[in-house]
Symmetry: C2
Subunit: 320 residues, 2 copies
């Protein structure tokens, strides 16, 4: 019986990335402290310093729609989501490169607004636009490369969680998913831009006992899965402790939405999720809040038994 040819949709994104990593071979050489599979790669530059590099794409029709968002917002977010990767590594921004693919028919006013939004965000976070590329394409996309800087050996990584580690998130969860669903229903313009947690990430990079850190782009459940990937460990989450924005429960009820599902599966919060050794000098959320400059909530812990307990199952697969 002839089998249908396999396509990308048959595999999950993680499986495809592992396929690339296998092919690319690791370790990638002595210049690189970390290669494929984290929020960013780490390049050894000089004693006391390392650079982190990351690339991320915002594609029309997948990540944004011109009808639903202002071009300036799209330009801002293109950089913000990349800065969030630097935050997850505990890095300070150094600079950015923008590859803009756009159709020849794009209005110059739209182009200008995309760039203005990008540059405004670059100024705000001290991450100057220092190069890039302009290409014709049928649909628009903004592919951003960011460079950050860390104290040598202090960059945060995804991997390293151990049994008993305490799990925390910064800020609140669910606002982005709620705003998106609301804009869809009301056919209104979505103006939300994530706030990269750069200061919090840098504070974490200075602390000892941080066993893993990731930014929440795909939703708590999926990104917690990433933090646990490659281990046989699991996690127990106390949903009652998931930090929600003000008025979130009521807004969800009004729209007939399950608040926990939005918080765990909604994604695009771009908060930091991190694991802390239980014997760390600081585990008190009040003290952590002072150190990180942002509210911090303990949400559970890492356990020996595989799987994530306490969160609702993810609706739909996360296939490519």
């Amino acid at each position: 019986m002839p089998r249908r040819e396999r396509i990308l949709a048959d595999l999950g994104e993680s499986a495809l990335i592992q396929r690339i990593a296998r092919r690319a071979g690791h370790p990638p050489g002595k210049s690189w402290a970390l290669g494929i599979g984290d929020d960013a790669a780490i390049l050894r530059t000089r004693p006391g310093e390392e650079l982190v590099l990351s690339v991320d794409a915002q594609v029309e029709g997948v990540h944004f729609l011109f009808g639903r968002e202002r071009p300036r917002t799209i330009g801002r977010r293109a950089l913000a989501v990349n800065l969030s990767d630097l935050a997850a590594m505990g890095a300070e921004p150094v600079g950015s490169l923008l590859c803009l693919c756009a159709p020849r028919s794009m209005a110059l006013a739209v182009f200008d607004a995309l760039i203005a939004g990008f540059v405004a965000e670059a100024r705000r976070f001290g991450c100057p636009l220092i190069g890039g590329n302009l290409s014709r394409a049928e649909t628009a996309s903004l592919i951003v490369t960011v460079v950050g800087r860390c104290v040598r050996g202090r960059a945060l990584r995804r991997r390293g969680v151990r049994t008993g580690d305490l799990l925390y998130v910064t800020g609140t969860l669910g606002a982005a998913a709620l705003a998106r669903l609301r804009a869809d229903r009301e056919r209104s313009v979505l103006g939300r831009v994530p706030q990269p947690r750069l200061d919090a990430g840098r504070a974490l990079a200075r602390m000892d006992g941080v066993h893993g850190c990731i930014d929440l782009s795909d939703g708590l459940t999926r990104d917690l899965g990433q933090l646990l990937e490659g281990t046989s460990l699991g996690a127990e989450i106390d949903v009652a402790r998931l930090p929600a924005p003000r008025g979130f429960g009521r807004a969800c009820r009004e729209l007939g939405l399950d608040p926990v599902e939005l918080q765990a599966g909604g994604g695009e919060d771009y908060e930091l999720l991190f694991a802390l050794a239980p014997k760390s000098a600081v585990t008190d959320p009040v003290v952590l809040r002072k150190r990180l400059g942002v509210p911090v909530s303990p949400i559970g812990r890492v356990v020996r038994q595989a799987g994530i307990r306490g969160l609702p199952p993810i609706r739909g697969g996360h296939h490519y």
Copy 2:
């Protein structure tokens, strides 16, 4: 009378890039020795070293067609054209990031071949794939960021030509354009991958008196225009000295093509074009060939009077 809204096609690529550079503001900060407008940006890292960063896109339907090229060739070229930017800066490859945008319906075999081609080229030139991103998109594109390394202050730049400078190109011109036109006519598979002139670029970076260097992606006339941009100078080119591949003239005649037009306007040669002070220690092409490890041809010189003399006018605009 209402004016039509301006679109990207109304402006040239250079004008759009200048628009971005104006908005981004320069200089970009003390970390960066060079920002928008060259083949790559230059980051100061440690005494004695600088890093160069560049990004370039290969877009389906614009830069490649799956029907016309094997996926492995497309993957190889995606890195090769970026390595050519490093060559033009005189940099040694350090690593690469690949952002692959692909439709869900892409065959896994095509994905694997794209990656295999990219990784083969990465191994060949010592530029490991150390990170990237995978995104859904309607059409495929490969956006590559490369990082290279230079001796501090020795990176080659586009700008700096002076009156009297001698102009040289490496290798031969016209083969890529001929192969492309031939494949179009014969509807055959195009298997050509450019050879990045990394060794030649590094040799030039060690020499004194190099007043400008660029890789020939858009064709000699256009890229020479880039070398002269921002100056009031011009160039005189001796077309009889343009280096042609073996059998080129006959192949052009057989196909009814003008060889000089292909050599000057065809593009995608990815050879280096550089300007050398006439009083440099080495100006003899035979000695230069030994130093650079590749044939070098003197093709003309920089003159006080603006404009490029000796080359046929460019057919069609180079509008975005």
